[in-house]
């Protein structure tokens, strides 16, 4: 089993990256790998509660994050600096995450076998 980290740095909807990342995460989890999801920079916005895409005609994929534990994807990490810079706290996020400092995030990143960036 290898350690896979998915680094999410883009806001949802403005680009396809957030959705594509989710799809690759689900595929990777199917192969019984050790999967971690990391949210940095605008990627933190992917996890914000209360997304309502009815007005823009795009599927609201934020609910999928809640389903990840059903695929044994339970390691979700948010960088504190990115979250706080956006005026957000853990209460604003739609899933349980572990909040890490930049230094802690760097250490976690360094111990991965594969890092995929979105």
């Amino acid at each position: 089993m290898k350690k896979f980290m998915f680094v999410n740095r883009k806001a949802p909807y403005g680009t396809i990256y957030a959705l594509e990342s989710l799809e690759v995460v689900l595929i990777t989890a199917t192969f019984d790998q050790d999967v971690s999801l990391v949210f940095l920079d605008d990627g933190v916005y992917e996890l914000v509660k209360g997304q309502d895409t009815a007005g823009i005609g795009i599927k609201n994929h934020s609910k999928t994050y809640r389903a990840l534990d059903g695929y044994d994807v339970e390691k979700l990490y948010v960088e504190r600096e990115s979250m706080e810079a956006r005026g957000l706290s853990e209460d604003d996020l739609l899933v349980d995450v572990e909040v890490l400092s930049s230094a802690e995030m760097a250490a976690l990143m360094a111990e991965q076998d594969v890092v995929l960036s979105f």
């Binding site: 883009k10 806001a11 949802p12 909807y13 403005g14 680009t15 920079d41 605008d42 916005y45 914000v48 509660k49 209360g50 997304q51 309502d52 895409t53 009815a54 007005g55 823009i56 795009i58 609201n60 934020s62 810079a85 956006r86 005026g87 957000l88």
Partner: protein, 97 residues
């Protein structure tokens, strides 16, 4: 002139370049990922644009991103009809991609 920005200020320099070149009194519409610049926490990216420009934000994009209720004061939300009106009432516009 109407300036339209659709990129997050944390991802590209579109908003910064727009603000550098927008003349006082012109209009700025924030759409897609640029709506984060209209939030309380993100509005530092607007600099003093709220004083010098008329700033609008596309409300469906705000709601899609869960940012309703986080908008900074002084920005006017518009719907798609309002977007069309803004384009129609300005003699020209630029989309900062």
């Amino acid at each position: 002139m109407l300036h339209i920005v659709n990129k997050s200020p944390a991802q590209t320099t579109s908003l910064a370049s727009c603000l550098r070149l927008a003349q006082p009194g012109s209009a700025l519409l924030l759409t897609e990922d640029a709506v984060y610049a209209a939030t309380t926490a993100g509005s530092a990216a607007l600099g003093d644009a709220l004083k010098t420009l008329k700033v609008y934000v596309l409300q469906p994009d705000v709601e899609a991103r869960g940012m309703a209720g986080r908008l900074v004061d002084g920005i006017t939300p518009v719907d798609y009809g309002g977007f069309v009106e803004l384009v129609a009432e300005h003699s020209n516009n630029q989309s900062w991609l």
